[in-house]
């Protein structure tokens, strides 16, 4: 019976899903605030232990790196809107439970289409017409790149995660090939062509990008929440059986939604190439297609929250870069800090969904 008595005890700590009683919103804010403060304390201790620097100074320089000068502020905003735009692009697909991991490639082909138009039509057409063609080409390219996996998924039920990931590599190699053939000096680097880029409003180079992304944010928000298409996306994502029961053409919705997703990726490519770099390289997107997945999830697929989450990621990234240069500590330490802060912020969601029950005594033997 001794063996049974041991087995009989309920574990000391149990995890219970929070029930029907919704939490007051203040609790949510409190938990998140505690998470951020504890993240700062923990990473402060680690900074002190690893580098011997004063954590307060380190945090101050993070802010300095992000907001220190007008130029830095503009750069922060530019990075934020690009990341935001990609996040907005993947969101309709994610809401449909279509795991589009191919934003990286979709943005890149959008950029490739833009740079091709700039290169081959730049000096042949008037600028307004050129811009229209650039927009159409980038949207079309992103769309095609997203539609290929979508069509395969809806006809043969292929795995979209693998397929979209593979498409990224194809896109990167396409750009590499393009550079090898068309970078005239053979260096593999294409000279920027700012004369054919998006117009600059006043002296602010990135203002147009910011305005465009703000408009896209509002449109995506309205599309998902108030349009019939958005409603169909939610139904298909929640339950394919319900969608069929109600008569929604699931295949049609998958293809249409991925067209939207790819189109927004294409626009991001336009903003990156036409509005920022005026050239292209294989690292133009720089992994933001993957970071966007996290941004979208963190915001629970809400475009308005995504403004905050994409800013948070950019803030951490740029701040970490600043402390690495200023204190000449290895960039791995600043990456650790970023990681810890993210871990706390994502981890606190656990405490909002579940509660921990500590049982006082084991269950009694019958």
């Amino acid at each position: 019976m001794f063996k049974n008595a041991l087995k009989n005890k309920t574990p000391l700590i149990r995890v219970v899903k929070r029930g029907r009683d919704a939490l007051p919103w203040q609790f949510g804010i409190l938990v998140r605030a505690i998470a951020i403060i504890s993240a700062l304390i923990v990473s402060g201790i680690i900074i002190m232990m690893l580098s011997g620097k004063n954590p307060i100074e380190v945090y101050a320089s993070m802010f300095d790196g992000v907001f220190g000068t007008p130029r830095r502020i503009w750069n922060t905003l530019q990075n934020t809107v690009i990341l935001l735009c990609i996040s907005l692009a993947v969101t309709p697909a994610f809401k449909m439970r279509f795991w589009n991991c191919g934003a990286e490639g979709q943005v890149l082909v959008g950029g490739l289409a833009t740079v091709s138009v700039m290169m081959f039509l730049g000096d042949k057409l008037p600028l307004p017409l050129l811009l229209v063609i650039m927009l159409a080409a980038s949207v079309l390219a992103g769309m095609i790149w997203a539609l290929i996996p979508a069509v395969f998924k809806s006809i043969w039920n292929t795995n979209e995660t693998l397929f979209t990931l593979m498409m990224n590599y194809v896109a990167i190699q396409l750009v590499a090939y393009f550079l090898k053939v068309f970078a005239k000096d053979g260096s593999g680097v294409l000279k920027p062509m700012p004369q054919f880029g998006l117009p600059v409003i006043g002296k602010y180079q990135f203002l147009l990008n910011i305005i465009i992304v703000a408009v896209v944010t509002v449109i995506v928000y309205i599309y998902l929440k108030y349009s019939k298409h958005g409603y169909e996306i939610s139904v298909v994502g929640e339950s394919e059986n319900t969608a069929k029961y109600i008569g929604i053409g699931v295949k049609k919705v998958i293809i249409r939604t991925l067209a939207v997703s790819g189109a927004i990726c294409g626009i991001t490519g336009l903003l990156l190439v036409g509005g920022t770099d005026h050239t292209i390289s294989t690292s133009t997107v720089g992994g933001q297609g993957f970071t966007a997945i996290m941004v979208s999830w963190l915001a629970k697929f809400n475009p308005i929250y995504m403004v905050l989450t994409s800013f948070l990621i950019v803030f951490l990234d740029r701040g970490a870069g600043q402390i690495a240069t200023k204190f000449s500590i290895p960039s791995s330490i600043s990456d650790i800090v970023t990681g810890i802060i993210l871990l706390f912020i994502i981890g606190c969601e656990f405490f909002l969904t579940y509660k921990i029950v500590i049982s006082k005594s084991g269950r009694e033997e019958k």
Binding site: N4, Y231, S234, N241, T242, K244, G247
Partner: protein, 513 residues
């Protein structure tokens, strides 16, 4: 204690929430016998056996093995007591071979050596007459072969008491015969076998004794040789209980939906609907009775355009335009575009009828959102409808913007039925609409169905409680293994009569044809 008993359950009680799955159940199994456990859906057969096999733990009561009281807290404990259960859904690793699956999780202190295990497996197969290739991969196997692997797995671990949960549900008649031959050989070898089943003729042909359960309670155990189909059915069904459901005479009944000779197969190629024909009339409630999984779901889904037919026609008679429409092989969208006003309350409420994470308003919109040319949603009408349903049907909810997942089962069902009725259907199909509902909520649903009937709707009601079917329905169609075994008058039919139609064997009839 009687030394002749292999297993004894004494006063076992198990509750799920407020529902009793088993109430003071006592049962015994002798050494070297085959005991059949018989009972309607939800009579607690599987729950009781799951407690013996260590899947659940009883709230109260005792279990004895070979006269010794034992505590069975996990399947591992059950194996220590030499009890093994073969579940309805197989638990095998697809990419492994038969032997590898059998070896999985066996910890007998010996070194893991596949050739030794193979030898022992072959020994077992020869002893009981199994036909199986030990090296064959599971994904290459038929359902019957997979079942064989499950049985050998249990024998390999040295089980003396075998529990089989509806083993014949997935088998063809020939495979069933083979299985029974093996079971008889095991009995001769001194094993005790418990077989859970719905099929009366199998009970009579294989078992030594039959234990009948009803509503979680053990009614009685009788010797198979001393009983017959009628007596067992009566024990299974129990006395008729009066429910006082109002029922009016059908008025102006005209054919509304005609189903003609439909046959269909499921994904595994098994026949799920076999030459079914019937007509549903306006202003009447047509009940469908049958053991769970006899083809009820496929029948309703065929009519709703969700299940493809191999043969047959489904015809709809439009009451307004007098058009005659063929619904076969049409999608739900095409059916709606034809102007067919068909409402369907599916069995799977949150997985099919509603979207759990959406609020009541958005769930109302499922049926109506395509209305109008605008690209944007119109939430005003759905909101009014949601408020109306909450008020009229007394839905207990904090508000119309509460996700339906957070509502209780009865309230979820009120939302679903309310929505389906709101589109003023001419045909209303409801699958198990009162399953899991308390008495009050059930009566709300009965009244709603009755109101629809009086207003001239053809109502098709799939139910499991025969007392309800007998008091609510005008006619009752009995379905058994995908075939119609009878259509009876709800006012004059006897409970036993329907019970017999539900369980009587259909295979022999098929052979005679």
């Amino acid at each position: 204690m009687n030394n002749n008993l292999a297993l004894e359950c004494r006063n076992i009680t198990k509750t799920f929430g407020r529902v009793y799955a088993n109430k003071n159940c006592s049962l015994d199994v002798k050494k070297g016998e085959i005991l059949a456990i018989l009972g309607e859906n939800g009579s607690g057969k599987t729950t009781l056996m799951n407690m013996v096999a260590g899947i659940y733990f009883p709230d109260s009561g005792k279990i004895f093995v070979n006269g010794q009281e034992v505590l069975i807290r996990s399947p591992k404990d059950a194996f220590e007591q030499k009890i093994g259960m073969i579940h309805q859904h197989f638990k095998l690793v697809d990419v492994f071979s038969a032997v590898e699956n059998i070896a999985l999780g066996v910890d007998d202190g010996n070194k893991y050596k596949l050739s030794n295990i193979t030898k022992k497996v072959i020994e077992i197969t020869q002893r009981y007459g199994f036909i199986i290739d030990p090296e064959k991969k599971i994904y290459d196997m038929s359902v019957s072969e997979k079942q064989t692997v499950e049985i050998i797995k249990v024998l390999y671990r040295g089980a003396d008491i075998l529990i089989l949960d509806e083993p014949t549900a997935v088998l063809t008649p020939q495979e069933t015969e083979k299985l029974f031959a093996v079971l008889r050989r095991m009995r001769e070898d001194g094993k005790s076998i418990i077989i859970i089943t719905h099929k009366m003729h199998e009970v009579l042909s294989i078992s030594d004794r039959v234990a009948v359960l009803r509503k979680g309670e053990h009614v009685s155990t009788v010797n198979t040789a001393e009983t017959n189909e009628t007596e067992l059915t009566e024990m299974m069904m129990g006395e008729k209980i009066s429910l006082d459901i109002t029922r009016s005479e059908p008025v102006n009944s005209v054919p509304r939906l005609e189903v003609k000779n439909i046959t269909s197969f499921n994904e595994e190629g098994r026949k799920v609907l076999d030459d079914i024909s019937f007509t549903a009339y306006s202003g009447e409630i047509l009940g469908i009775a049958g053991i769970a999984g006899s083809g009820q779901r496929e029948l309703l889904e065929s009519i709703a355009g969700l299940h493809n037919l191999a043969e047959g026609e489904i015809t709809y008679f439009d009451p307004i335009t007098n058009n005659i429409e063929n619904l076969r092989d049409k999608t739900p969208l095409q059916i709606r575009d034809l102007g067919v006003r068909l409402s369907f309350v599916p069995e799977d409420r949150l997985g099919m009828g509603l979207v759990g994470n959406m609020d009541i308003i958005d769930n109302m919109m499922l049926r109506s959102y395509t209305k109008g040319k605008s690209a944007f949603l119109e939430r005003k009408e759905p909101k009014d409808l949601a408020d109306k349903i909450i008020k009229d049907l007394n839905v207990a909810t904090p508000g119309a913007t509460t996700p339906v997942r957070q509502l209780s089962g009865g309230n979820v069902q009120k939302v679903l039925v309310g929505r389906e009725i709101a589109s003023s259907p001419s045909v209303l199909m409801a699958a198990y609409p009162v399953r899991g509902l308390d008495v009050n909520a059930s009566y709300t649903i009965y009244n709603l169905l009755n109101e629809q009937k009086v207003s001239g709707v053809a109502v098709i009601f799939v139910g499991e409680d025969l007392d309800v079917l007998l008091e609510l329905c005008d006619r009752i169609l009995v379905i058994n293994s995908g075939k119609i075994t009878g259509i009876v008058d709800g006012r004059t039919a006897k409970k036993e009569e329907i019970g017999l139609l539900m369980v009587k064997s259909t295979e022999t009839e098929g052979e005679e044809k």
